[in-house]
Amino acid sequence: MSVREISIRDALREAMSEEMRRDERVFLVGEEVGGYNGAYKCSRGMQEEFGKKRVIDAPIAECGFSGVGIGAAMVGLRPIVEYMTFNFSLVAIDQIINTAAKARLMSAGQFTLPIVFRGAGGAAFQLGAQHANSFDGFYAYTPGLIVVAPATPYDMKGLLKSSIRDDNPVVFFESELTYGLKGEVPEEEYLVPIGKAEVKRAGTDLTIITWSKNLFLSLEVAEALSAEGVSAEVLDLRTLRPLDTEAVLKSVAKTHRVLVIQEQHEVSSYGAYLSHLIQSEIFDELDAPIGLVSTLEAPMPYSKSLEAVILPSQERCLEAAHRVLEGSR
């Protein structure tokens, strides 16, 4: 198998292009996806290859073009709806949650909705409060959706291809900060299955559970802990709904200590759910209370010095890891 290093934006483009070559029902719609090649250049050259019929520049009307995608999916097309960022998905959220996630149940299975909603989620550098939302857990709250939040170029490509082939509505999170990040991706076609977590670093003393771009922070934390003689395992969930419960419990049963690192406010968060799940399923395996590092409880301020405090940092993660290792809160 030949491997090369490509960026996440190219991995995403390859995933979409390969699937569009494979299946004529697949199309891409969103703001700037055509002539501009995508706000983050994820669809570079795609309109040239597939034409304006299949790579469609939409006006700024997220509710409208999300609904168009869902309606088209109801009658057999397989749309990819791109949000420039998921911050703007809020004006389409009625369509995603009240229509896409529920149409199958309300119609008792008459509707099948093979649609992907994708775009950047989470904070980047100093975007201010309205452009720094992290909504992965927010969408993961809703039954009827699949929620995918990968980190590496390999996983981005393999999971986006699986998402496009899936017959359910999939909400697919990328990150503005990592579109340029490069990693190994095979030349040959491959898929990464939805609903499967992956151990990205094996360890024995502590399980760090994370997803999306916080994988990279978690790996740094694990490296720093290793210098202290602590062997941390890093479990990348990759999919939030459905959760790979088996992988979570397996890792925890091995290390007996858990630290969750999430870019979410702690109240009503996915990490809080994970914590409940673990303690209710395998309480006896735990040697310490579960640690949770979250975004602090404030809308994101603009200034660099404040943003750094709000987001999970290596310093806060290490502090939390030490508390978990000491078995105290």
């Binding site: 409208g64 168009v68 309606g71 008792a108």
Partner: protein
């Protein structure tokens, strides 16, 4: 005038009327839960439109959906069973009054958030262009939907992308309890089409032949020219917004004025004037039998098995 057509239009309108009168009765007997929004009074719009559609065409609507479902050929049995939350319902008891579906008949629902069905209909129409199909999508909405964003975004995209869709505002003059003059500074709601722009028309929704003619023109425009139309059908619901609404915001005189022009009564009188009294009586009793059969079917059907509560979430 074509007698077969007149008798069929009469039958279809009467089916809806009697279906809903029975639904109202079952609701007061607490056999139907949730909300029940009745279409009584507005039947000429759904039946007139359905009578000029082709089998390949799609229909989408909001939560006042029983009439559109029945007019499109939906089964009274399965509709009534849905209202009673039965496994034999048109959505196996998962949808309820606001969420009827019959994909085989291309009846696409049945949506509960005001205006949200407008972009969905645009999406179905988009898919027809994408696949070179000549099917037209007909999308109903109420006068209460003409201010919400989804309506405007759906219309904007329909005009921009030249989608084969016909939007029908069923103007029954009240958004729940708020009269139209308090929600829009226009009398002719088709004026909303101007800015996108798209073709528009206004029709007397109590005149089923006018409805047919208006719909026919718009559907042909969609099918042949791939252009959308916004139609206002002026109509009236005789009942409240839902069964919970005593409709005290309007006068009995106003209701009576509309009832005097009731489309079912009007067409029934036409049948009699054409010397078709016997045919009318036969339809009356056939419809009655169909609806009573539907009620019996619904009442005797099984509830969904509790073990299936998590079915139909994902594929």
């Amino acid at each position: 005038m074509d007698q077969e057509l007149i008798t069929d239009l009469y039958r279809q309108m009467l089916r809806i009327r009697r279906f809903e009168e029975e639904a109202a009765r079952l609701y007061t007997e607490r056999k139907i839960g949730g909300f029940l929004h009745l279409y009584i009074g507005e039947e000429a719009v759904a039946v007139g439109a359905a009578s000029v559609m082709e089998p390949q065409d799609y229909v989408m609507t909001a939560y006042r959906c029983h009439g559109h479902y029945l007019a499109r050929g939906g089964s009274a049995r399965e509709g009534m069973a849905e209202l009673l939350g039965k496994e034999t319902g048109c959505a196996k008891g998962r949808g309820g009054s606001m969420h009827f579906y019959d994909l085989e008949k291309r009846f696409m629902g049945g949506w509960g958030i005001v205006g949200a069905q407008v972009p969905l209909a645009a999406g179905i129409a988009f898919a027809q262009n994408y696949t070179d199909s000549d099917a037209v999508t007909l999308c109903y909405l109420g006068d209460g939907a003409i201010n919400i964003g989804a309506f405007h975004e759906g219309l904007a995209l329909s005009a921009l992308w030249r989608l084969p869709v016909v939007y029908v505002i069923e103007n029954n003059h009240f958004a729940m309890g708020t009269p139209l003059e308090k929600t829009a500074p226009i009398d002719d709601l088709s004026l909303r089409a101007l800015g996108y722009p798209m073709a528009r028309d206004t029709v007397d929704g109590h005149d089923i032949f006018a409805v047919r003619s208006t719909m026919h023109t718009a559907i042909r425009r969609a099918r042949e020219k791939k252009l959308p139309t916004l139609i206002e059908a002026k109509t009236y619901r005789y009942r409240g917004h839902s069964m919970a609404d005593p409709a005290k915001y309007r006068t009995a005189e106003e209701v009576d004025q509309w009832k005097a022009r009731d489309p079912i009564k009007t067409l029934g009188e036409k049948l009699e004037s054409l010397g078709m009294t016997a045919a009318k009586s036969r339809i009356d009793s056939e419809v009655e039998a169909e609806i009573q059969d539907a009620v019996e079917f619904a009442e005797s059907s099984a509830m969904p098995d509790p073990a299936t509560a998590l079915d139909y979430v994902l594929v």
